[in-house]
Amino acid sequence: MPKLPAPPVPAPLKAPPPRPGESNGKGGPIEGAKAAGINVVDWVDERTSLSGGARWMMFRKVPKGTNWFYTLGSATMFAFLSQAVTGVFLAMYYRPDPAGGAYESIRYVTNDVFLGQFVRGMHKWGSSVMVILVFLHMGRTFFFGAYKYPRELNWVIGVVLLILTMVMSFTGYLLPFDQRAYWATIVGVNINGTGPLIGPYLSDFLRAGPEFGATTLSRFYAIHMLLVPGALIALISAHLYLVAKLGTTAPPWIKAEQSSELRKAEA
């Protein structure tokens, strides 16, 4: 009996042709693992087309003269990521209880939890690092003139990010709930209150009432770990999108090449 020809198989189900430099089909376990990884990525990419976006984001043309100063922005972002990760783990132990529980939970993290002092130290000192990096990044942008057209909106977003970083520092400072945290917050909230007309209402909003009360600490905690981080993540995404969309600037000391072959040819 003659054998029927094999039915046509859809392209995704066919065995892929061997890649260049690979022996045909049957490789060792390493090549098998490699192929499995590629297959998983291909499977996701076929359904999402994410690789185009990733290429758009990662493989950009950068101007001549790009130097180490251009890493301050991503340094700031990694400082934020470090704060986010350490903050999530600190939240597993922290208790926003003003009647002694908050201080006790911080004491427990610092003295008793394995690596607790280290993670808390990362979060505490990392916040200062992040503020310093934000200002250095801002100074780089300013002195290189990178805020000019068409990047004004990215400067504005950056200023909002700076303010939100300050809000994070202010609200996070209360959480250890020791004497310094308490009095610094009293003073900080009252500084807000010195703004005319809306100042008194602003400080009432921060304190949840006319005096530092039972819900002030949990309010600061919610602002610190839910409200502002959400806004920060959204605005950092917008900031990065605009960086990729508009490209980066050359440093001001790089001059346009006046006498290139191309310009001669154009002229």
């Binding site: 003003p98 009647a99 002694g100 709930f177 308490y182 009095w183 009293i186 003073v187 909230v189 009252n190 500084i191 209150g193 010195t194 005319p196 007309l197 100042g199 008194p200 209402y201 400080s203 009432d204 909003f205 304190r207 949840a208 009432g209 006319p210 005096e211 530092f212 009360g213 039972a214 819900t215």
Partner: protein
């Protein structure tokens, strides 16, 4: 045009010449537009139904005064009319030590007190909350001054500013005498530089001149005690 007589008589710009099956005469808005607007409105209502309560929840405390109460601070024999005695009082309940504050108390003294003497002030109770930014002042006996440790605010015997950054005198608490016990009302009142009484303001907010309008007090704090 291929329109029937029936169609040519129409005036609405939405039905003339559209030739859409099911379009009825006199439509004032296209169906696409109607669906767009109504689904946007539904989305807006859905978002408002959780955003507005959440917002009210967050800003509600601005308009809500915590309950104030009379606190027993000692016997009438504990206080003199020429020097201050510190008493620890509770200004926010339920949070332990963090809700406590200190007041300096003495008997009203006609020889030195220049403010009006009435049923609210048989004893002068000075709040230790500095009128600059809220740090705790202490009474320094040798200097006969209230001195703030944070930014150097200095106040005299009556709590009036004599130096440093504060913008008004120290706040006070109403007091009363019950039998031989002295009681203090946990809600402060503020005074201006002439020791005239005002509803409570936060530190850093002057009540002299235009200040009392620039820094409005909470509406429900204006009720008298």
């Amino acid at each position: 045009m291929l329109l029937s007589d029936k169609h040519t008589q129409q005036k609405s710009k939405y039905t003339v010449d559209r030739m859409i099956p099911g379009a009825f005469e006199g439509e004032t808005v296209t169906r696409r537009r109607f669906m767009t607007v109504s689904s946007q409105a539904m989305g807006g209502i859905a978002a408002a139904s959780f955003l507005l309560p959440a917002l009210g929840f967050a800003i509600g405390p601005i308009f809500k005064q915590p309950p104030h109460f009379w606190e027993d601070i000692g016997s009438t024999e504990d206080f003199t009319n020429n020097n201050y005695v510190p008493v620890v009082i509770t200004i926010a309940q339920g949070i332990g030590e963090a809700g406590k504050s200190t007041a300096y108390v003495r008997q009203h003294n006609d020889a030195i007190d220049t403010d009006i003497y009435d049923r609210h002030t048989p004893y002068i109770a000075i709040s230790t909350r500095c009128a600059h930014l809220g740090c705790p002042v202490r009474w320094v006996d040798a200097a006969e001054r209230f001195i703030c440790p944070c930014h150097g605010g200095v106040y005299d015997l009556l709590g009036r500013r004599v130096g440093g950054p504060p913008v008004r005198p120290l706040d006070r608490f109403p007091t009363r005498v019950k039998g031989d016990r002295v009681e203090l009302w946990s809600g402060r009142f503020s005074v201006n530089s002439e020791l005239k009484r005002f509803s409570p303001r936060d530190p850093g907010e002057t009540v002299d001149g235009i200040g009392q309008y620039l820094y409005p007090s909470r509406p429900d704090a204006r009720k008298s005690y």
